[in-house]
Symmetry: D3
Subunit: 140 residues, 6 copies
Amino acid sequence: MNNERYQQGLDKLTEYTLNANEETSTHHKIAEDLEDIAPDIGKYIIEFAYGDIYSREGLSNKQRALVTISSLVTQGREPQLELHINTGLTAGLTPTEIVESITHLIPYTGFPSVLNALQVAKKVFNVRGVTIEKTAQATG
Amino acid sequence: MNNERYQQGLDKLTEYTLNANEETSTHHKIAEDLEDIAPDIGKYIIEFAYGDIYSREGLSNKQRALVTISSLVTQGREPQLELHINTGLTAGLTPTEIVESITHLIPYTGFPSVLNALQVAKKVFNVRGVTIEKTAQATG
Amino acid sequence: MNNERYQQGLDKLTEYTLNANEETSTHHKIAEDLEDIAPDIGKYIIEFAYGDIYSREGLSNKQRALVTISSLVTQGREPQLELHINTGLTAGLTPTEIVESITHLIPYTGFPSVLNALQVAKKVFNVRGVTIEKTAQATG
Amino acid sequence: MNNERYQQGLDKLTEYTLNANEETSTHHKIAEDLEDIAPDIGKYIIEFAYGDIYSREGLSNKQRALVTISSLVTQGREPQLELHINTGLTAGLTPTEIVESITHLIPYTGFPSVLNALQVAKKVFNVRGVTIEKTAQATG
Amino acid sequence: MNNERYQQGLDKLTEYTLNANEETSTHHKIAEDLEDIAPDIGKYIIEFAYGDIYSREGLSNKQRALVTISSLVTQGREPQLELHINTGLTAGLTPTEIVESITHLIPYTGFPSVLNALQVAKKVFNVRGVTIEKTAQATG
Amino acid sequence: MNNERYQQGLDKLTEYTLNANEETSTHHKIAEDLEDIAPDIGKYIIEFAYGDIYSREGLSNKQRALVTISSLVTQGREPQLELHINTGLTAGLTPTEIVESITHLIPYTGFPSVLNALQVAKKVFNVRGVTIEKTAQATG
């Protein structure tokens, strides 16, 4: 039954949004915004993306967040990147892991995607009030 | 000095290729193939990609492999994907983690990229003689 | 003679813009904006895009608008998407056909492109004062 | 219940493959090929892509095929393009509509994507033994 | 009149293909291959791409070839890249200029696009029997 | 030693920014902006992009700027395009060469990328107070 997948998706989404009201509301805001022209979109995100895919075994929430962020940096999809850096932090990625993942992509996507993504990360970190652990960056 | 970065890159690359002669030779084969028209390319891959970027702190080798694979699936760059599924296995990713990472991308890239990438993964697994752990897939 | 192709293109463009002064002016505004640095661009759009390509037989105006919108959603080119959702409406696509075409792309491009495109569609529908036919969406 | 979505997807897929054993087997072959490493992929294609998305109201099968082909030409995903030119023909698109849709994309994607896609179309038409209606092309 | 643009395009194309029968036939082969399904494509390439665009003032043939190659490397469109490395050589680009242009893109597209493009260049150089000037590469 | 590559990169960057305080500060502003979350990024841009790649022989600064702009137009990366149209002007490209390079890409990327890029160029030309040489455009 769809409701079971919907409930599973909603539970999973909560794991990515529990401690941060802001981006929970972002997910709900996306669905609400499109309620009048595409009411099923929110349902597909919960049921299919979170209920079917994110709920699979074999990867941790942190790993899923890392995969998602890597794809969005590569695509240059910045509105979604902002959302998923937020959910990544909630799922347990540290700011350093996020910055390092983006930096790691320089040899695979070039500098422009990486520079744009780092500015999105900086913005999210500022809003969340989190900071980079200094030692991990001391590679100069 | 450049030699220091080159040595650091070579050491790091070895961590991704230690147990698998095949893909080590793939990295060297790329450099050799281009020796006569672009002799510096191999040097940049070792010094910059592996010496500067892969050698940074803050992410494990497994995490770097996950980020690389996610980007290459998203770009649809299959020759490189084959190489990096190989290095990912050597770096410690399980076949299940690789398959799940690719599957996780369906909501972010659609099915075509994912189907093509899974066929590359299947080919690499066959060559390496590795198999998927069945339980992790038993989500049906 | 060029003038013949130009006239044919202008006639064809009018079919996509007849009932909506706004997006006609958008096409003219693009050409005007670039008049001082690239005066031939407007000519190529009229002569080649509308005169040669859009004027071909074998597809209806509605079908051409559908193909154009599908490509622009896939590319994530939102300024142009806004223009072509406008011309698509003028060419006879219903709001539901436009929303369904965008939604149909989820399996081929993933959610991010689709969500961004639906927000563009919502904005255009609001400006044009058109609404989705409720019954077609009642699939929940 | 999932089985209901699966059945709905299978029924819908049949509408795109009824008269052409070849591409039905292609869809099944994709699922079978990945059975040992990603057994759920086939299920998601049937349940989500065909059961949820293709089964929506508001667009005809022909329109859905047109949208799919336009996206795949734009992405340059040729293995999938071959499959969906096949399903498009079965869904009722004429060879001319397919060629015109691809040609229509020149102003939006440039010539390279279009030339590659037309060669895929030619190959599919040859295998299916279908030909272009000459009059529709007589625009020279 | 179209014939004038066609003639201008044909003359311009000859500047890119004069000394190399091989890639001239490649351009004609593309048009011939598609003659039965899309007879106007060859005309658009000659009239619009070569007659309108390549025939513009303000850039040399060598510069146009450089721009074309840079775009095709970035897009990862290798069949077309092969053709345009050929026409670039005929237009006067040296093998070193071609290799350096591709290498220059590492910071903008990452290594994968560049490695794939260099292998295409190597293949074309072999077929044409041209070699890299050694001194220009002696940057190690 | 890294300092040597850094100095070489800084010297090379100066060749692209000497006469225009504005975009020099842009390069420094990017590094400064990311200082607190990714302090090595600025170093990699100077050492690798400008020190290793831009400092290679075989292409003039103008040619490198042309290759960079062509790639960024193709990728649709407009923030970076603005920066590199600026550095291209400083490196010696004329406004006409820049506009013609962008226009030349219509057959390879379609109109949308080109139209967006021309608006970026127009904005940069306005800020720099440069204008198109009229005769070069008189192709109508």
